[in-house]
């Protein structure tokens, strides 16, 4: 016998099993499709055992083992299916979405509660999110997140009015073209430290910053305190926070030399300035 015949039959059966696993909704039908795939493997094992003339009968013995394992798998699988049915009154795979993440997730309200224990990550995410949103929204976001997170609690009232200062300009300009990665990290990691920085930054008069801000792009309100805090954190946390910032890397690069609070308002510097000025004025 040509070995092609059982091999092709095996491939066909396996593909049918793949279709069944992907297309069926009933869990028991999915289990049946898995059994079809296992049988496709079995027929390959037997055919190649016969072809190679294995003296130890490795192929056929392995076929027996696969049959036994399939029976065990089906027993446990059906027990799980019955337990699910007992709890949910359905075995429809498309409706068992408790572990799913997505827009139709029914447990969205629990997300903010889960964010609370990790203020840093959360602030970084809000920075990413807020990169596209209007500045006013961002200020609102940060106010809310700051009130939740421990570090940002102090910061939230003053951030909106945090004025830009001249000291940062030089650093910001140098930083912008070169170190995009660090800037990303800086922009995100600035969040937690911003809380400590901003009460200090709130004091400088708004007028001085307002004059400079529109002219020089990267100079966004960089209080000295904010700068000092962000520098160490960049090294610490770039690796950790990288993933969150990857999508918005382009925006981050625009936002490079921003300060602790400016880094969070990544992106549209003009908007932030307007908002700040509005907040001040």
């Amino acid at each position: 016998m040509h070995i092609v015949y059982p091999s092709v039959l095996s491939a066909v059966l396996f593909s049918i099993g793949v279709y069944g696993v992907l297309a069926r909704r009933n869990t028991i039908l999915v289990l049946m499709s898995v059994e079809l795939m296992l049988n496709a493997v079995n027929i390959n094992l037997v055919a190649f055992d016969v072809w190679l003339g294995d003296r130890l009968h490795g192929g056929q013995v392995l076929t027996l083992f696969v049959i036994v394992i399939a029976a065990a798998e089906l027993g446990v699988g059906l027990a799980i299916v019955l337990a699910v049915f007992r709890n949910r009154a359905t075995v429809d795979i498309d409706r068992l979405r408790d572990l799913a993440e997505g827009p139709d997730e029914p447990y969205a309200p629990t997300a903010p509660a889960s964010e609370a224990p990790a203020p840093r990550r959360e602030l970084a995410e809000t920075a990413v999110r807020s990169a596209n949103s209007p500045a006013a929204q961002r200020a609102g976001d940060r106010a809310s997140t700051g009130s939740r997170g421990s570090a940002g609690a102090v910061a939230s009232p003053t951030e909106a009015t945090a004025p830009p200062t001249d000291t940062v300009e030089a650093r910001a300009e140098t930083a912008e073209p070169a170190r995009t990665d660090q800037v990303e990290g800086q922009a995100e990691t600035a969040g937690p430290e911003a809380g400590t920085a901003e009460p200090v930054t709130g004091q400088p008069p708004p007028g001085a910053s307002a004059t400079e801000a529109p002219t020089t792009e990267p100079t966004v309100g960089e209080p000295t305190a904010g700068e000092t805090t962000t520098e160490p954190t960049v090294r610490e946390k770039t690796a950790r926070e990288e993933t969150a910032g990857e999508e918005t890397a382009g925006e981050k690069t625009r936002a490079t030399g921003q300060s602790a609070d400016g880094g969070e308002r990544v992106g549209e510097q003009p908007d932030t300035r307007h908002v700040r000025r509005g907040g001040k004025g």
Binding site: Y19, L22, Q60, I69, E73
Partner: protein, 220 residues
């Protein structure tokens, strides 16, 4: 294997029978994954597995063929039918057996089939073996299992035992996670049966489902 490969086209009798059985197996499998009747799917699975057992017989794997008949046709399909019954599947046509991503699944399956068949045909076009009875008999296979493969065999026994216990623990309703904490002072008492576990689901399913476990535990 080193013999000159006979041509494909006048197929031998064995090959003809194998092809017919293979067509039956593949067609039945296709019906398993496309039929609208849930119970019919299990019955088509019987036909598919039976045809595969015939294929094993033609490939001189007699013992595997009978194990296939005993375990797959005899036990697995019956288990699946029990599962269908216990999950209260509708008897008759059920229109929602296929999910929305049917087309994608078909594309993926066709791609898989294309790749596998192409590779297999390219790789084993010249593979040929004459079929001689004997090496797949129960005697040969039994001595092989209990001499060479005895350690995997024993490990498999342990696996079967673990699966057995696991299935029992999973399917019993009088063992609950709250049962162990029930001894704690102030702990909430565990629910008596499955009826409390599904307070918001349809009521006609849960009491009847919960009744066998309670009866069983009452008998003990």
């Amino acid at each position: 294997m080193t013999d000159p490969v006979p041509p494909f086209l006048p197929p031998t009798g064995q090959e003809i029978v194998f092809l017919l059985l293979g067509v039956v197996a593949a067609g039945a499998a296709l019906l398993v994954v496309t039929t609208k009747h849930l119970v019919h799917a299990a019955l088509w699975l019987v036909l598919s597995f039976g045809a595969l057992a015939g294929c094993y017989l033609i490939l001189t794997a007699e013992f595997v063929a009978w194990v296939q008949v005993l375990i797959y046709v005899g036990a697995v399909v019956v288990l699946l039918l029990f599962g269908i019954m216990l999950t209260r599947a509708p008897i008759g046509r059920s229109p929602d057996l296929d999910s929305r991503n049917r087309v994608v699944a078909a594309i993926v399956a066709l791609a898989t089939a294309g790749v596998l068949i192409t590779v297999v045909v390219e790789g084993f076009r010249g593979a040929y073996t004459p079929l001689e009875p004997g090496p797949g008999a129960a005697k040969e296979l039994g001595s092989s299992v209990f001499r060479t493969w005895v350690l995997p065999f024993e490990a498999l026994s342990v696996l079967l035992l673990a699966a057995l216990i696991g299935a029992i623990v999973l399917s019993r309703t009088d063992i609950r996670p709250g049962a162990g904490r029930g001894a704690d002072p102030g702990g909430a008492p565990p629910p008596e049966d499955g009826a409390q576990a599904v307070p918001d689901r349809d009521e006609k399913a849960s009491p009847s489902l919960a009744s066998p476990p309670t009866g069983r535990s009452g008998g003990k």
